[in-house]
Assembly symmetry: C2
Homo-oligomer: 311 residues x 2
């Protein structure tokens, strides 16, 4: 085998009440990475498509190369590899763009090297890449992009990642408004200290969401999709946030929240028809607000990253 | 039918990471209430056994009578009832003593009146009694005492109570040291503001605990039984807290925490043998510390309150 191409899906981190501990993957979009053996002993990022020239080609800055490098170090191997990245995800949108690139690179390289790692064991390498891309080694995008479905990051030291069930018929609508929101700005509005009362409300809701996923109880999922510790502060950075939510819930959405640190919003719905109605309602309300928008909807991706071609 | 006697079990509220939102019931102990029709149109608390004369007989202060009164008001009925309470639970111990009395009184009265309410719908009346007994209308003792098993209180406005699964073979050991700890003191050491970081750690653990209960994953339950927002402050009020936990975990306990607001401690274990070993380890370590102790162990009670006699 000389070349492997893999796909890794977009992801929604935080999921309202699951701030910093939950994420899920969606089928609609993702990044594609081809990894090809080369005669050199180096990692090279040969080309990046779809990033508008914004991403670095240097191996110590590019998220794909950093992830692969971490993997090769763990294997104590020196292998020459050429990396070809096709971005399917917009940068800095809150859909796990850097995570999808790193995960697709790892999935392809793992197969190319004869699967030295279990899928789950690729996670630390993807987290290392997130550290370079985002300044913090979060797992709430890379874990669902790699493993699929809803994923709980219970702890980082040691890493404790739990795959949760996905109710049949759960759909996600993603709303990507055409403006930039820097992760740093979205982080800076958060509070260092929060009321104890808010912590227990958040705990109750995340417990309700987990129970709702296990029970396929869409009403319980809907009641639980509330974030009191991050969203109230971030919503002020997102024009029309509460009007959009009202319109989407009126169209049948179970709930709506900020995808990652925004500006993309996500809504969950029961059934395809409702997800379509929610998408239409989103287009209408954003038109009223006067913001351009891309809307995607899809089922939850339950398989995570996968190989699409081997040569 | 002239008389009904009902039993309601002891409960462990908080359950470490489930601070203020979780509770479970245990089979080992509980309160028993007999409710007898009388010719008067009044509620009377005729006798209380096992309280050392500490509990009030006045109908507007006694937790059984307050609960029944709330129920009768909802029914818009005037019924003369005599109440006989047998305390099986020590007062102010953190085992849901007032909750068990109120719940047993409601279970008995509901049957006596021909079951006008579904079991779950008795909850608001028990919460009203907790308000009188404890100064706060918490549901994390009354809900599991009434319904059995592990119960999540997701929200109070409106009340949202979710019964969670109980893994086969999950045992609880209760350690009741012979000293008093006032709930007010145990509350007063808590912080009004907590670090955001602690809130997300707590969320991760409670999410892990819920997933562990659904998956019957005892290892995950064990890893998740950590409380970072209340226990560190309360532990200082509990002599030998960390030594006791170390000894119990060495004996095989999945985890140990404070039952309600203490001073009783609870430990969870997989299997009866381990629960027995944990009980023995508890007796040994408390002897070393020099504190008298009652130890109980039992399976989780999954049926909640129940009628034991009708006449």
């Amino acid at each position: 085998m000389r070349s492997v191409t893999a796909f890794a899906p977009a992801t929604v981190a935080n999921v309202s009440c699951g701030f910093d501990i939950l994420g899920f993957a969606i089928d609609a979009m993702g990044d594609t990475v081809e990894v090809v053996r080369s005669d050199s002993e180096k990692l090279r990022v040969v080309s990046i498509e779809g990033d508008g020239g914004k991403l670095p080609l240097e191996a110590d800055k590019n998220t794909c190369a950093v992830a692969i490098q971490a993997m090769l170090e763990a294997l104590q191997q020196k292998v020459g590899l050429d990396i070809y990245l096709k971005k399917g995800l917009p940068l800095g949108s809150g859909m796990g763009s850097s995570a999808a690139s790193a995960v697709a690179a790892l999935e392809a390289t793992n197969r190319l090297l004869g699967n030295p790692f279990e899928k789950k064991d690729l996670l630390p390498f993807a987290i290392a890449a997130e550290k370079v891309a985002c300044g913090a080694g979060h797992a709430d995008n890379v874990a669902p992009s790699l493993l699929g479905g809803f994923v709980l990051i219970r702890d980082y030291h040691p890493l404790d990642v739990i795959k949760l069930p996905v109710p049949e018929g759960l759909y996600c609508t993603l709303l990507h408004p055409h403006y930039e929101l820097k992760t740093a700005d979205s982080r800076s509005v958060l509070r260092d200290q929060i009321p104890m009362k808010h912590a227990t409300i958040q705990s109750g809701n995340v417990a309700g969401l987990i129970a709702g996923l296990y029970e396929s109880d869409f009403e319980l999922i809907s009641r639980s999709l509330r974030d009191v510790i991050a969203e109230p502060y971030r919503a002020v950075l997102l024009p029309g946030f509460y009007e959009v939510r009202e319109a989407l819930k009126a169209a049948g959405a179970l709930g709506m929240g900020i995808s990652g640190s925004g500006p993309t919003l996500f809504a969950l719905s029961q059934g395809k028809e409702t997800a379509q109605a929610v998408a239409k309602a989103a287009e209408k309300i954003f038109k009223t607000i006067g913001l351009d928008l891309d809307v995607y909807f899809s089922e939850i991706n339950t398989k995570g990253a996968y190989v699409i071609e081997e040569k």
